[in-house]
Symmetry: D2
Subunit: 406 residues, 4 copies
C-alpha cells in the first residue's frame, strides 16, 4: 500500500468522507487532495474547506458544477426520454460521470496517482466512479475504503473518529436520517431503513423536496417550456441557462407534489434494491420532451429512439457514460433532435404533470391531412386499400398455405 503518493478524494464534508481523509493518510501514508462540488445537492459546499483544512489537507478543490452538470449530462440524457426499468429517471447515475471526470482531471493537474470515493461495495456508485476513472486514466489507482477497511459499523466509525480527533459534532445539528440519501440538481434519493421492506410504504416525513400531493395547492399551475434542439431554453418565455431551468422546475414540481417515485430496481452488481426518489423537475421534463417530440419527430426515428432507450438507460445506470457505446447511442439520439423545437404547456396539479398543449414551427402535424373534415384531396383514401393489401400479402399467402392463424 506504500506506492500511492497522492490521492484525490471525492469529499462531501460529511462524517464518512472525513474519516476517509484520515484513513487514507494513515493507511497509505499519502497526501490527500479533496474535491467538493456543488451539483445542486442543496447543501453549502464552502464549509468543506475548513473541515478539510482541519484534517490537514493542503490541496482543496471546491467547484460549482451545476451548469455543466445539467448542460452536458442531464440534458443529453433527457433527449433520449431515458427511463431505467420503465420508471427511474437516473438521478444518481447521471451525476457520477461528471464527478469521475473532475477527479481524474484534478489528479492529472495535481500529479496524484490515485483517486478515492466514499461509495460502498454493494452499490452502483462504486462502479460508476471507477469505470469512469479507468476510462479516463487507465493507469489510475482507485481506493475504495468501504471495500477495504474494517470500519463496518457506525460504532467502529465513531471509535475511529474519537481515536483520530475527527470532530463528529459537525453532523450533530441535524437529526441523523434513518435513510441513506444522495442529492443533486436532478433528484434526491432514499434507501435503507424501513424501505428495506418492499411492502412498507414510505413515511411522509422522509420526503424532502416535494410536498405530498394531498397538501399541494388546490389550483393547478400552468407553465410553458420552450425547446430548442431538444433542450429547454426558456420557461414562460424567460430564457434560462440549463441549471436555472432545472432549479425552476424543481421548485414548481416540488410545490405541486410532483416527482415522487418508489421502486424496486435491479442493481448492476446483481441484487435488487428498494429506492425512493424525488425528481420534480425531471418528471416534468420527461413528459414535456415527449410532447414536443410528438409534434416534431418523424415516426420511424421516434420508434427507433424508443427501441434504443432501454439500452441507453442501462449504459448510464451501469456507469458506462465514458464509453464508445454511449457515444454511439448519443450520436444517434442527437441526430434526431435538430428539429425538436417549440413550446409545451404543462399543467401541474397534486402530483400530476400533464400536457395541456404543444406547438412548434417544426411541427409535422398536418391539420389539412389529419382532419375529420373534408381535406380537399390532401389524402386519397383509396391509397389505403393498396397499402393494406400489400401489407397483408405475406399473411394471406401463409393463411392460404394453411398456416396457423391464431
Amino acid at each position: 500500500m506504500s506506492d500511492v503518493k497522492k490521492v484525490v478524494l471525492a469529499y462531501s464534508g460529511g462524517l464518512d468522507t472525513s474519516v476517509i481523509v484520515k484513513w487514507l493518510q494513515e493507511t497509505y501514508d499519502c497526501e490527500v487532495v479533496t474535491f467538493t462540488a456543488d451539483i445542486g445537492q442543496g447543501e453549502e459546499v464552502e464549509p468543506a474547506r475548513t473541515k478539510a483544512q482541519a484534517l490537514g489537507v493542503k490541496e482543496i478543490h471546491i467547484e460549482d458544477l451545476r451548469e455543466e452538470f445539467v448542460r452536458d449530462y442531464v440534458y443529453p440524457m433527457f433527449r433520449a426520454n431515458t427511463l431505467y426499468e420503465g420508471e427511474y429517471l437516473l438521478g444518481t447515475s447521471i451525476a457520477r460521470p461528471l464527478i469521475a471526470r473532475r477527479l481524474i482531471e484534478i489528479a492529472n493537474q495535481t500529479g496524484a496517482d490515485a483517486i478515492s470515493h466514499g461509495a460502498t461495495g454493494k452499490g452502483n456508485d462504486q462502479v460508476r466512479f471507477e469505470l469512469g476513472a479507468y476510462a479516463l486514466k487507465p493507469g489510475v489507482k482507485v481506493i475504495a475504503p468501504w471495500r477495504e477497511w474494517n470500519l463496518t459499523s457506525r460504532e467502529k466509525l465513531m471509535a475511529y473518529c474519537q481515536q483520530h480527533d475527527i470532530p463528529v459534532d459537525f453532523s450533530s445539528g441535524k437529526k441523523k436520517s434513518p435513510y441513506s440519501m444522495d442529492a443533486n440538481l436532478l433528484h434526491i434519493s432514499y434507501e435503507g431503513g424501513i424501505l428495506e421492506d418492499p411492502w412498507a410504504e414510505a413515511e411522509e416525513d422522509m420526503w424532502r423536496w416535494s410536498v405530498s400531493p394531498e397538501t399541494a395547492p388546490d389550483q393547478p399551475t400552468y407553465v410553458e417550456l420552450t425547446y430548442a434542439k431538444g433542450d429547454i431554453v426558456a420557461i414562460d418565455d424567460t430564457p434560462m441557462r440549463p441549471h436555472e431551468v432545472l432549479e425552476t422546475l424543481n421548485k414548481l414540481g416540488g410545490d405541486n407534489g410532483i416527482g415522487r417515485l418508489d421502486i424496486v430496481e435491479n442493481r448492476y452488481v446483481g441484487m435488487k434494491s428498494r429506492g425512493c426518489y424525488e425528481t420534480p423537475g425531471g418528471t416534468i421534463m420527461l413528459r414535456a420532451h415527449r410532447a414536443i417530440e410528438s409534434l416534431t419527430l418523424d415516426r420511424e426515428e421516434a420508434h427507433l429512439k424508443d427501441e434504443l432507450m432501454p439500452k441507453y438507460a442501462e449504459v448510464i445506470y451501469n456507469g458506462y457514460w465514458w464509453s464508445p457505446e454511449r457515444r454511439m447511442l448519443q450520436a444517434a439520439i442527437d441526430e434526431t433532435q435538430k428539429n425538436v423545437s417549440g413550446v409545451v404547456r404543462m399543467k401541474l396539479y397534486k402530483g400530476g404533470a400533464t400536457v395541456a398543449g404543444r406547438k412548434s414551427d417544426q411541427s409535422l402535424f398536418d391539420e389539412s391531412i389529419a382532419t375529420f373534415e373534408d381535406d380537399a384531396g390532401a389524402y386519397d383514401q383509396k391509397d389505403a386499400e393498396g397499402f393494406i393489401k400489400l401489407n397483408a400479402l405475406r399473411l394471406r399467402i401463409a393463411a392460404g398455405k394453411g398456416r396457423q392463424q391464431d
Copy 2:
C-alpha cells in the same frame, strides 16, 4: 360489384353503420349479416337487434365478448407493459383483432364471402380490421364503404337516410358529440373537433369516464391487486374474472381522476393525429404490473422485455395481432411471467396511481443481501473490485492506446 353474395358487417346500431347496411344491400345487391358485440363500450347492444331487423337484416349476431376481450387480448398485452410511443395504452388497437376474428368466424359460419366495417380511410382501424380478416381468411372480400362511397359529409349522409327511410331519430336522444369517439372496456377515445389543434387543451366536459383530478376525492383510496402469472386474479382479496377486474379498476380509477391522456401520435397510415384517451383501469394495471415484476423478474429478462416492448406495441398498434411476429414476441413475454405472482398495493389519488407496496412468494428481493446493515457475509464486497476491474478492462486498454476519452 355483383360478385358479393353475403357480407358480415361490424354493426354498432348507430347511424353510420345503419347507413352502411342499406348501402351494402343496395350497392352490392347482397345479403347483410350484422355482428354487434359488447366489449364494454358502455352502451346496450340488444337495441341493435331491432334496428337491424328494421333494415331487413335476417342474420343478426349479438354477443357479450367482455370476458374474452380482457382475458385473451388485454391481459396478454399488459404482460408486456405495453405503451405505444411511450404513452398510449392501445385501448382501441387491442379490441380490433377480436372483432376481426369474430367477423371471419361468422362469415365462415353463415357462408358469407365478404366482411365490412365502418372505419374511415384515414385511420388505423381499417388496417387493423382488414389485416386481421386477411390473415384469418385469405380469400375474403373486404368492403370499406368509407373508402368507396361518396357520402363524404354529414349532409350527404342525412340525405341518404331520408331517401332510404333510415330512421335518423334513434340518435336524437343524445346531443351529437363534436368528437369522434370509440370505447371498450379498456378505454374511451376522443378525436377531432377542437383537438385538431394540438395547442388547444381538451375541454373538461369532453371526458366521460373519469372525474377531473380537481373534483376527485380529497382522500386517497388504497387497493390491493393480486397477481398470478402476470395477470390480476383478485382485488382486495376478492377473486374476479378478467373483465370484472377491469370493470372494478375502471370504476376506482375513474372516481379518482385517473387515466386521462392527451397525445399526438403517429398513425400507421403516415400522418400524425391528436387523440385524448381515458384508460382508468389500464393506467393502474400498468404501474401495478411493473411493481410486481420489479420483485419477481430477473434483471436481464426485465431489460430484454423493455427492449422488445416498443416493437410489440407497434405490432399491435399497426394491426398485426394475428401475425407470426406477434406470436413470437408473445412467446418470449409469456415465458417470463411464470413467477410474476404476488400482491401490489396501489394508492389512487387525484389523478395519480402510485405504488404503496409490493410482496410476493416469488420475490427475488433478498433483504439479507440488499441491506445497508451487516449482512453476515451474504455478499462479499471484495468481489466488486474484480467485477469493476474486468468490466473496465476494455475501456482501460482503449484509453491506454490513446483513444478518445470524452
Copy 3:
C-alpha cells in the same frame, strides 16, 4: 392525365424504357427528359443519346456516377457490415437512392413536374425509386408505366414498337437472356426463368461476372486492403478512389470465383422471390471490413452495431435511404468508424475470400494481456473471481429461491 408537362425518365437505352419514352409522350402528351447514368453496369451509356434523340427527346442527361455511387452509398453501407436476411449484400437496393436523387435534381433543373421509371409493380425497385422521389420532392408526380399500361406481355410490347416505329433491332445483337437482370458496380442480379423454382440450381452459363470456383485458378491470390476510417483507400499499397477500389476487387473476386449467391428473399411488397447475385468485390469487402473492425472496434460498440445492422439493412432494402431513420442509424454507425484504420490481408481462392492477417495502428488487441505466456502482471487473474461472482449473483439468488434452473 393531361396535367403532366414534362417528365424525367430513368432511361437505360434498352427496349423497355424506349417504349416508355414513346408511351409517355403519347399517353401524357408531355415532354420527356431522359436520364442515363453509368453506375458501373458494364454497358456503354453514350449510345443512349442517339436512341433518345431518335425518339424525339430534346433534353438528354448522361452522367458518370460511378465514384459518387461508391463513395456516398456503397461505402457508408459497408461500414455497417450490412446484410439483408443474413446473406444479401443489397447490390440493387443501394443504387436506387442515387438514381432517385438525380431524377429529382434533373426535374428541378429542367422544370419537370414528374418522374418515371421502368420498374414493375411487383418488385422492390418501384418502391425505392418512388419513396426517394417523394422524400426529396414531395409534390412530384410519379409515373410507373408498368402499373398503368396494358402492354403486359412481350408480344404486346413488340406490337407497340411496330405501331410506333421504335427500332427493336437495337437489342437484337445479343441473345435475349431468360433472366431479368440488373447490374451496377456492386453487383449483377438474376431473377425469373428457371430460378422461379427454388429447388432448381442456377445454370453455369447464367453467371456473367465470375468464373465458377471449379474453373478459378488453382493458386490462391493474396491482396492487402488499406482502411481509413472504415473505408478502403488503397489496394496493395496503391491509393485508389472508391470506384477504383470496387472495380479492382470485382476483377480479383470474379477471377477467383468469389461472390456468387443464390437465395430466396422476402420482398417489401409481401412476396418471396428467388434471386441470384454476383458481388465479387463486395463479398471481399464485407469480410475484410469485419476483420479490420475486429482489431479496432470496442466490444460493446461492435455488438451494438450487430444489433442495429438488420434494421439498417431493412431500411435500405425497403427503399428508405432518404429517411430520418437511415440518417439516425448512419450517425451511430459513422461514430464508430473513426479508428477503423489499418490493413487486412485477404486470401482469394476458388470462391473463398478468407482473412489471412490484419494489423492496425489503432489496434485494441493487446498481446501483453491476451498472451498465454506470462503477462508480467498486466492482468490479475484473481479479478475474474469477483467478476464471475457478481455476474452470477442474480442467478444464485433466483436458484436459492427455488426458481427453474433448466
Copy 4:
C-alpha cells in the same frame, strides 16, 4: 480452505487436470470425484479411468454425452442462425453449459460441496463453467486452480509432477502442440503460439479436422439435408440422430476443406483474442438452415430473429445458457421453427458450402405471385401505388415542411 469435503472435477485425463486432482487433494485435503465426458472431442475417454484411479480417485464418472450435446445444445442454438460477432459459430461456448450441468448433478449425487475445472483466469470458459454452476446450485463452492495456485509456468507444473509422482509420460506420445486447443463435436479451436500476432497467417499444419481448400477434391460433393421443425433429421434421405448428423457433416465438410475460421474476438473478460476454428459440419448447417428458413419463415419473424440473434449469441458466448434471458429468447426462437421443415441441397467444394436448392411442403414461396410471367390476377400491381403513397406520406409531409432531405 479446510471446509471443502468433496469436489467434482471436470477431468480430461490430460496432464493439467491430472495435476489439479493432486493439487486439490493436497491443498483442500478433500476427496476428488472425476467427471470425463465424450462430447465428440475425438479422443478416447475410457483411458481417463485408469489415470484417475492412479491418482487415488474413487468416484470416477465417464459418460458419452454426444447425443445430448447436439440435441439439447447445438441444435437449439442453430435454430437461431447464431453467430458471435458475425463470424464465430460458438463451438466452445455451447459445450460448457452441458459440462456445468453434469458437474452439478454429479455433485448432488455424490454429496460433493464443490466443483473444479481446468480453465484459466483469462478466458471465457471459467465464466461459463462457473455461471452455470452457480445458476444450478447457488451454494456450490467453485475451485479454479489456475486462479489460485502458483504453478504459472510449464516448468513449475513439471516440477510439481515430479514431486508428486504424477506420470508425465502419458502425454509424451504426441508432440506437444504449440497451440491451446479445445474440441467437441461442433468444432476444434486453436489459440496461442504464433496466433498471438493477428497479422500472422495460421500455418497449414495447425489445422486438424479439415484438408485445405487447395487439397480438397476437384469435384464438388452434393448433399441433401432434411429438416423437421428447424432441426436436421436426415442426410441424403437417411434418418439420423442429432450427433450422427453432425458427425456425418463434419466428415463431409472436413473432406472438402469447409469450416476454417480465423478471427479476432472480444472475450467477456474484456480483452481481444485471436482464435482459429474448424467447424466443418456447423458451417454447412448454418447456411442450410438459413436456406430452409428462407422458404418457410414469414418475413417479419425472420427479421425479428435476425435482430435478436446477436443478443442470443452474446448470452451464450458469455456463459448465460442457464439464465432466464436465454430461456426467453429460446421461447421466441422455437416458436418460429414449427414449420421449418423441408429439404436443402448443398454443394460442397474446396472450402465453400453453397445452397444448390431448397424445397418444402411448408413453403411460403408462391410461384403464381412471384412470377415474371402473367400471374392471372394473383397480385394486383395497382395496389403498389397506394402502398407506396402511404408509406411515403410521412416523408412527403416532412419534405413539404422543409425538413432536411439528404
